[in-house]
């Protein structure tokens, strides 16, 4: 073996056509763990091959070389002197005399790289499978989402229809409630102007004024606890009753007592539905020029005589529907022609204040009642306290001629 072959970066050997090693360079000896080429020269190539490679060599590699006279980059497994297996690539070619030259390059790193590559491929395939799985899941989720969206659209359409239907019903109910309100009165004895505004479509406030006979009038204003549909239903129940009681000329205490009894009966043993109601009822006799009233927990009505002197018609009993057995006692006083009365619910007095209402009445002693009403409304519009925007508003102005 010349020195040049010993300087090669890989192994080199030649073997006879009987597979006996003829020459072997130093790098291959070192690779196989032999110290001298004498240990291998003359030995069968099988000495340095693994069992599987021996079979492979015999049945595949050697026939290839015999047929094509060369074999390139064939993967084999060498067996070292100590029995370790060394993966390698072999390049072989034969000569005319049947001698075979082999270049053998260890391929441990390549095998490792291939393993890593295979592992990376496996990971990539796994990731691809996961990705595909996730994509499938996303498709399912998307489909579900689309179905939910369709359901949502349907529900929204139903809700919209429900809202429209409900709104239509509420507007109809509002008309019915407002129809139950009595018309303003204007004659030679008195003039009555009213204002009624529900915070929602329906109001918990209700009023009525009735000419009982040629000189007597009954005026009532009630405010049912809360507002909205539940309160409005109760106002309608009360309205049917007080309209009948007052029109008959029933005494003031009996009017309140009947309304009180009605509420107690309405909510007998029904704590959850229970509502109370503030009320003020005035019985006006224009011939005798007297006013008899009962205030049951209602904001004080304002009375102003023709000279601008004012007094409050304060509450004397708790609201109706609160406690059984309330003793409703009326209070009476005489009035002068040219006097005015202002009845209101807390939806008016809370934003404006009772002092402001008193001032508005006093400043408009000789102002026509319709204008006084407009002045009060103008003051209300300028009030921005959010607390009270949500309450029903109602007031009644009376000019005693």
């Amino acid at each position: 073996m010349n020195d040049t072959l010993d300087q090669l970066p890989g192994g080199f050997l030649t073997m006879s056509k009987e597979y006996n090693i003829l020459t072997i360079n130093q790098p291959l000896l070192t690779m196989l763990g032999y110290t001298s080429n004498h240990q291998l020269i003359g030995q069968s190539i099988r000495t340095i091959l693994s069992k599987s490679t021996i079979t492979f060599f015999q049945f595949i590699l050697y026939p290839i070389i015999a047929q094509k006279h060369r074999a390139d980059e064939i993967h084999i497994e060498l067996k070292s002197n100590s029995g370790n297996l060394i993966p390698a690539l072999i390049y072989a070619s034969d000569k005319k005399d049947g001698e075979i030259s082999c270049v053998i390059v260890p391929s441990s790193k390549r095998v490792e790289y291939e393993k890593q590559l295979i592992q990376a491929n496996k990971v990539a395939e796994q990731r691809l499978e996961e990705k595909n799985y996730i994509n499938e899941q996303l498709k399912i989720a998307l489909k579900n989402l689309e179905e939910k969206q369709e359901e949502l659209v349907k529900v929204n359409q139903q809700n919209h229809k429900y809202r429209v239907d409900t709104q239509r019903e509420l507007e109809l109910a509002k008309k019915i409630q407002e129809t139950s309100l009595t018309d303003d009165i204007a004659n030679e004895q008195l003039q009555i102007e009213s204002y009624y505004n529900a915070s929602h479509e329906l109001s918990g406030d209700i009023y009525g004024f009735y000419q009982i006979n040629k000189s007597q009038y009954g005026v009532i204003l009630l405010d049912v606890m809360g507002h909205g549909i539940s309160s409005a239903l109760i106002t309608m129940s009360l309205e049917a009753l007080f309209q009948r009681l007052i029109s008959k000329g029933m005494p003031t205490d009996l009017v309140l007592k009947e309304l009180d009894d009605h509420l107690h009966a309405l909510f007998y043993n029904n704590e959850d539905a229970w509502h109370y109601c503030t009320a003020i009822y005035l019985f006006i006799d224009t011939e005798r020029q007297t006013i008899e009233y009962i205030n049951a927990g209602h904001p004080p009505a304002l009375y102003q005589d023709s000279h601008g002197q004012q007094k409050e018609l304060n509450t004397s009993t708790p609201p109706i529907g609160t406690f059984k057995g309330i003793d409703f006692r009326s209070t009476s006083f005489s009035y002068q022609k040219g006097s005015k009365l202002l009845l209101y619910t807390d939806g008016i007095s809370e934003p404006l204040g009772q002092d402001k209402l008193a001032s508005l009445l006093k400043e408009n002693t000789t102002t026509p009642l319709t204008q006084v009403k407009q002045n009060i409304l103008h003051s209300l519009e300028n009030e921005s306290n959010h607390y009270y925007k949500n309450d029903d508003q109602c007031f009644i102005l009376i000019d005693l001629k």
């Binding site: 229970w274 927990g297 009993t317 609201p319 609160t322």
Partner: protein, 111 residues
């Protein structure tokens, strides 16, 4: 509109102190009712409600206290309201309920 109401109940042997913070209206009244009514159903119990931190109350809130008072009459318990702000106290005064419900207005917060 702030619809929060905090209800804190401290129970003692024969009484309960209920401290309220926030606003009592149609939205929060059920919460107050749920806390207050069971207390008034304990015979001989004194239920003291501190309204110092109640900044707003409407007729629905007033209804809860009327209901609680009715319950005390049925169960022989007592209801006492303390430290009402002027705005809230005025509601009791307007409705005449200040003469029926025990209200300690000697110690009262401002608005």
């Amino acid at each position: 509109m702030n619809i929060n109401l905090e209800v804190e109940v401290v129970n003692q042997e024969s009484s309960a102190l209920v401290s309220l913070t926030g606003e009592i209206d149609a939205y929060t009244a059920p919460k107050l009712k749920d806390a207050l009514l069971p207390l008034t159903k304990r015979e001989g119990y004194l239920v003291e409600v501190n309204l110092d931190k109640v900044t707003y109350m409407d007729s629905t809130g007033l209804g809860v206290f009327v209901g609680a008072l009715k319950s005390t009459k049925e169960h022989n318990s007592q209801l006492k309201l303390v430290q009402l702000q002027d705005r809230v106290l005025r509601l009791f005064e307007i409705t005449g309920l200040d003469s029926i419900i025990t209200i300690d207005s000697t110690v009262r917060g401002g608005n």
